[in-house]
């Protein structure tokens, strides 16, 4: 293995079931059910997944859900806004922790 990430590994996802088939089956059944059309449309779920993929910085998920978003009729403007949602949440999550910093600092300083 020359690199940690190889795009062709995405198509090998299902091989995670090789030594634990029952667990893999349960996971993929659940995965499929999550992304099926429900109270949220498959299109909405693809955009959420794309945002989460950027939040967790998974290149496989970014590849998969960019394609899924396009297949669901999303355009680049929509996909980009989804990435900004991830960016805003990640940035906000850092900044809101600043409240802790402030409380601690204010307690410790004259």
């Amino acid at each position: 293995m020359k690199t940690y990430y190889d795009p062709s590994d995405l198509s090998l996802f299902e091989t995670i079931g090789k030594d634990a088939p029952e667990l893999a089956r349960k996971f993929f059944d659940y995965y499929g059910a999550v992304f099926a059309e429900g109270a949220l449309s498959a299109r909405e779920k693809a955009l959420i997944a794309l945002a989460v993929a950027h939040a967790v910085q998974c290149p496989y998920c970014i590849d998969a859900y960019t394609r899924a978003g396009l297949e669901q009729g999303c355009d680049l403007e929509e996909l980009t806004e989804a990435v900004h949602v991830a960016g805003a949440i990640r940035g906000g999550a850092s900044l809101v922790h600043g409240v802790q910093m402030r409380k601690i600092a204010e307690k410790l300083t004259l």
Partner: protein, 325 residues
């Protein structure tokens, strides 16, 4: 011109089985059912150069059905027992004599369908054509690939968005797409690239809601169509480095259950110069129907039930997912 009955020159990536092998593996054969649809491609002239076009249609094309060939097609229809005629192009609206052709076909075939790109329908004051369509209750199948201007124009060209919306409004005013009017308006949606269409029912639901809410436009049905790797679209796939992956995607999405309902089993396609093909994609690829190139003037009836249909690897586009049925 010869008739390659197996396939055109194939350049499938090595790890993808040929379409004919996929059929065989599933114990299937592609043969004709009762031929109830006459599809007529009246020419390759078009006011647009859509990037997904399998026929490489455009303003530069001069292949247009002549009055003589139109008469031969009508005579052929009279000899047969078709339920529906599907008129396509190119842009049929730009073909001289199209109104008379529609009227003549209306005398011999009960249901008529015209494919339109919406922009040509609005050009050159085609009120005569619209009147003909209304008079003969011609169902319109119109291209409307996205709900956003940028997506539509990336695929179909600058200025198409506004013209398309204006024509949809005009068609609604005429009664097209309105309940109980008897004038059917269907939307055709192709993906804007090297990926498969979304679930048709979900897309139809979203289009119905958004077109009504944002532009007060109504329609009857929506067809989510897969882009076929031929013509201008195939060239784009190759030059953009997407061809192998796209063919892999189509092959992986092969759905054996749609084969019995494929459109080629119950239709015959006629080219602008009067020759017959199993479908518009084989027409684009030059794969003729039967053993040799046959003109409609020489046909007494459509191909018999059970006649084998030639296959090619672009057939994967019709069997992907929900299929082209």
């Amino acid at each position: 011109m010869g008739c390659p009955q197996e396939t055109q020159a194939q350049t499938l990536p090595g790890d993808i089985e040929k379409f004919s092998a996929a059929l065989k593996r599933h114990g299937l054969k592609l043969d004709r059912g009762r031929c109830r649809i006459l599809q007529v491609n009246v020419g390759l002239i078009c006011d647009l150069c859509c990037r997904h076009c399998h026929l490489t249609a455009g303003p530069h094309r001069r292949e247009i059905m002549s009055a003589e060939t139109m008469k031969e097609v009508v005579d052929f229809a009279r000899r047969c027992d078709f339920e529906l005629v599907d008129i396509t192009g190119g842009a049929p609206e730009l073909v001289p004599g199209i109104e008379g052709f529609i009227s003549d076909l209306a005398d011999v075939i009960p249901q008529l369908m015209l494919r339109s790109n919406l922009t040509a329908l609005g050009s050159q004051e085609r009120n005569d054509l619209l009147s003909t369509c209304v008079k003969h209750r011609v169902a319109l199948v119109v291209s409307f690939p996205a709900l956003r201007e940028a997506q539509v124009e990336a695929q179909r060209g600058s200025g198409v968005w506004e013209k398309s919306l204006a024509m949809l409004h005009r068609l609604n005013e005429l009664g097209y797409g309105r309940e109980a009017s008897g004038l059917e308006l269907h939307l055709a949606v192709n993906p804007g690239g090297a990926f498969l269409p979304a679930d048709q029912a979900a897309v139809e639901k979203r289009y119905r809601r958004e077109l009504q809410r944002r532009w007060d436009i109504v329609f009857n049905r929506l067809f989510a169509l897969t882009n076929t790797p031929l013509g201008r679209f195939r060239r784009w796939l190759e030059t953009s480095g997407n061809y192998d992956a796209y063919m892999g995607k189509l092959a992986k999405a092969f759905n054996p259950t749609v084969v019995p309902g494929l459109m080629c089993r119950e239709q015959i396609s006629v080219s602008w110069d009067g020759y017959v093909f199993d479908c518009d994609f084989h027409l684009a690829a030059g794969i003729c129907q039967g053993e040799k190139r046959t003109h409609v003037r020489d046909l007494s009836a459509p191909p018999a039930e059970g006649t084998l249909i030639a296959t090619a690897d672009h057939c994967y586009a019709c069997t992907a997912g929900a299929g082209f049925t």
